[in-house]
């Protein structure tokens, strides 16, 4: 089934916006019904294409935040202030609107319970989205593959899916979560409060002897710095997968 999903030609489809969920003050999840969706793997992304009345088009890629087990397809859009597409998707878009999209895309940055673990997921900001699809998939399959999520955000209010992540961490399935809040911390915060570095990765991540599958996603500078630290700590480069978000076009 996985092979069949990967071999199909990518075509533009029209999706219906079914739900809109405010995740943080700047991030909103768009949940869609996509007819004939061929299925996807956790970690893949899709392209959204917007067309203005005068024919002008803009296109952006978004990680699929929903797991393969979910019937509806969700993406989470972080609104970038002077962006072109994100203010529309995270603002103007209404339930009942239709969006053109194509996917799923990308067979490289994917995780499925059959790949085993332990897994180390490292997120910078909205880089948590594809990793959330992986955790949701893990939960849907009631997997006990040991998993750790290290999530870097500016403040507690910027943590996307916070309640759901905390619930998954509390369900005794073997998921541990650490946040590092780099700009502002709540009163009495005893967690990490700096950019992810080697010491933090050595402290919270799996030891190299455990040979974890590692997925790093976020802004390019964070991903590059974390990937380099992981290799310096002795993790196998072949077991580290990265998805750089880059300075997105917005």
């Amino acid at each position: 089934m996985v092979g069949a999903a990967v071999q199909r030609r990518l075509t533009w489809r029209t999706a219906d916006v079914a739900e809109l969920l405010d995740e943080t003050s700047s991030a909103r999840s768009v949940v869609m019904i996509v007819p004939d969706w061929p299925g996807h793997q956790a970690g893949q992304h899709l392209d959204v294409r917007l067309t203005a009345a005068d024919g002008y088009q803009a296109q952006r890629s978004y990680s699929i935040a929903s797991p393969p087990e979910s019937e509806r397809i969700a993406i989470t859009v972080e609104r970038i202030d002077d962006g072109e597409v994100s203010p529309f998707l995270a603002g103007e878009l209404r339930i009942g609107d239709r969006l053109e999209l194509r996917g799923p895309i990308g067979g490289y940055f994917v995780w499925d319970v059959s790949l085993g673990g332990p897994i180390l997921l490292i997120a910078g900001g909205s880089g948590v989205c594809p990793l959330m699809a992986m955790l949701r998939h893990r939960a849907a399959r009631r997997s006990v593959v040991p998993a750790r999520l290290l999530y870097s955000a500016r403040s507690f209010d910027d943590v996307i899916y916070r309640d759901e992540i905390d619930r998954l961490a509390a369900d005794r399935s073997g998921l541990e979560v650490a946040y590092t809040l780099t700009r502002a911390q709540p009163e009495g915060w005893s967690g990490y409060d700096r950019r992810i570095d080697s010491a933090m990765l050595a402290d919270f991540g799996w030891s190299t002897a455990e040979r974890p599958l590692i997925f790093v996603c976020g802004p390019t500078p964070l991903v590059e710095s974390v990937a380099e630290s992981l290799v310096q700590l002795g993790h196998e480069p072949a077991r580290i997968k990265t998805e750089r978000f880059g300075p997105t076009g917005g």
């Binding site: 990967v6 071999q7 199909r8 895309i105 990308g106 067979g107 490289y108 940055f109 880059g246 076009g249």
Partner: protein, 94 residues
């Protein structure tokens, strides 16, 4: 006897190319002609539109340009530079 009888039309390659372009390219492996390193496409470095006039795939090892994709209004041009070869996995036929 020369090899002229071995020459086919380009459309004999159609099936081969369709597998290349329909399938998922990020899991495809490619070799860099400049430094010899072999890596999965998903691991290489990409510089993409709208932050570049076209998509440039660079070798993660030496940053040589492997492939360049330019989309015009009506065509897509795929340029090859230091990509020595590209290989896609397929499900076994039997």
């Amino acid at each position: 006897m020369d090899g002229a009888h071995l020459k086919l039309d380009g459309n004999a390659m159609a099936g081969v190319m369709q597998e290349l372009f329909v399938g998922d390219i990020t899991a495809a492996r490619g070799a860099c002609a400049a430094c010899g390193s072999i890596a999965v496409m998903g691991e290489q470095h990409a510089f993409m539109y709208p932050l570049s006039p076209g998509a440039v795939l660079r070798c993660a090892g030496c940053e040589s340009v492997l492939m360049v994709v330019v989309r015009t209004r009506t065509r897509v041009r795929i340029g090859f530079r230091d990509l020595a070869w590209i290989e896609v996995s397929q499900p076994p036929t039997t």
